[in-house]
Symmetry: C2
Subunit: 334 residues, 2 copies
Amino acid sequence: MKTTLRKNLIAAALVGALTLTTTFALAADSLPSWNDGKARQSIIAFVEKVTKSGSPDFVPPAERIATFDNDGTLWAEQPMYFQFFFALDRVKALAPQHPEWKTKEPFASLLKGDVKGALAGGDRALLELVMATHTGMTTEEFEQIVKDWIATAKHPKTGRLYTEMVYQPMLELLAYLRANGFKTYIVSGGGIEFMRPWTEKVYGIPPEQVVGSSVKTKFELRDGKPVLVRLPELNFYDDKDGKPVGIHQHIGRRPIAAFGNSDGDLQMLLWTTAGSGARFALLVRHTDAEREWAYDRTSSIGRLDKALDEAQAKGWTVVDMKNDWKIIHPVETR
Amino acid sequence: MKTTLRKNLIAAALVGALTLTTTFALAADSLPSWNDGKARQSIIAFVEKVTKSGSPDFVPPAERIATFDNDGTLWAEQPMYFQFFFALDRVKALAPQHPEWKTKEPFASLLKGDVKGALAGGDRALLELVMATHTGMTTEEFEQIVKDWIATAKHPKTGRLYTEMVYQPMLELLAYLRANGFKTYIVSGGGIEFMRPWTEKVYGIPPEQVVGSSVKTKFELRDGKPVLVRLPELNFYDDKDGKPVGIHQHIGRRPIAAFGNSDGDLQMLLWTTAGSGARFALLVRHTDAEREWAYDRTSSIGRLDKALDEAQAKGWTVVDMKNDWKIIHPVETR
């Protein structure tokens, strides 16, 4: 084959391959678990206009940053944030090494199975539980503890692995955005190191694209080997006002699309939509008591009240789980 | 053209294109400003073994994380860190709004041109200078201030733009690593928001791959518009022990290669090389008093003492700028 011909064929094939990819990514069947309603249509309309070359709303791939809340947006969060179940299991596992917990709150109540009593101490009790179970070890040790737990622990109501309680339509949305050149991030109030060990496998989101709450860590040489030790001191709380702060700190760019489900995500959505050019904000509303849970304005977990008013005032997309989603969890597709 | 034939041609062309890319990336001419010595050879040997499919040292692309110090590693740092010149210029620019600085140290000495006198106050004076010049505005305002300064300010000795004082061999190294599937990060003691506005253009490193020191920021609504305000409080100091902490916080993976030039990088290099599998550590040694500066064990800026001992003991690569680099700055290639 002559060199010029070969070069031309390579060029043609590359262009062909790219075109095929784009067409596939934009195809209507990228979101098969979404019913054809306003929510799905608004997502596709936004993605098409920011990716269309020559469109006044075109955004270069490097700036296609999309941020997702985790609890209640990518996976379920009832009757408690799943990280709280992790903390409970850790209290039980660590109890033999802490005889003093038998008489010390909030541990004593927890060990008797009285979660409500344990949480009567409010935020202080919760923080004490988190610090007792999430710190005092190296970062590598903590990673292994999380990996072991997430691989085996089951949800108390569904009996499923927690990673089976992710939302199939959101997995499709993540993949659809990435196929269109978006970089997808998690921005969660949950612990950054509680999520990183499994987000790549479950969501396709690598550790460096996870933003979350954190404790301070300290560099140490132990017998000449460098380790990072997790300290019982809060470093950053990535919720509400903290979300734009965490986004700025980690990403250093303003997202063009943000996805949440509760008042904890309001500031992230405000920050995202206040940028110039095309912007997109979406709230997942939990309306399906049968297939999942139904809750919003008065729930203590995942309260959606102020953010819902704001969404209605500003025309943000609100997903009605019951009517917009054909399937809730991936297990339903099997 | 028949469909099968077309498909085969596409496949062949794609494979061909990929092979060409790989061959090009691995070619000896990827590092043209490096003399063919031990340093250059050690870099190429490392990259070849971690990228070669089937090699016992193969590392999947997602884990090919390389971290670079900035001051003294990617650009010069004498006679002062360039960010300090930025702070000085800001003091002068802001002085009319601060009549009290005429009699208040460290500002009074600075405004008289007495830098040494201003710095007699040590770290406290330095911190005061940084806070007075780097905080009190929104993140967007600060970004614009940095952009304006970096586009025009000149180095007091060379008369060049600071971004012209980057190291050509290191630019080639960054590109060579990226062509081989590495993700390149900056991990600097300098301010994260002082670097992000120009690192993509100058180094090809996007904002989300810059780790650095930071001040706290606060989310606010100003006339209904969300802003992030820079507060006069240190959030994180990304030097020495802080570098592995910053790497863990931002990237959540241990690098497989790290590049520095001073004792401030020692912990990053220790942390990087303590991981399992193939690892690479490199120190740039400033040995060229004629084309740049020569300094190491006794310099107050960029001291290279303990890290040099460690490099010699552990067989890390040490670049001798005078002998290893044909060219120091990009301007020499014009």
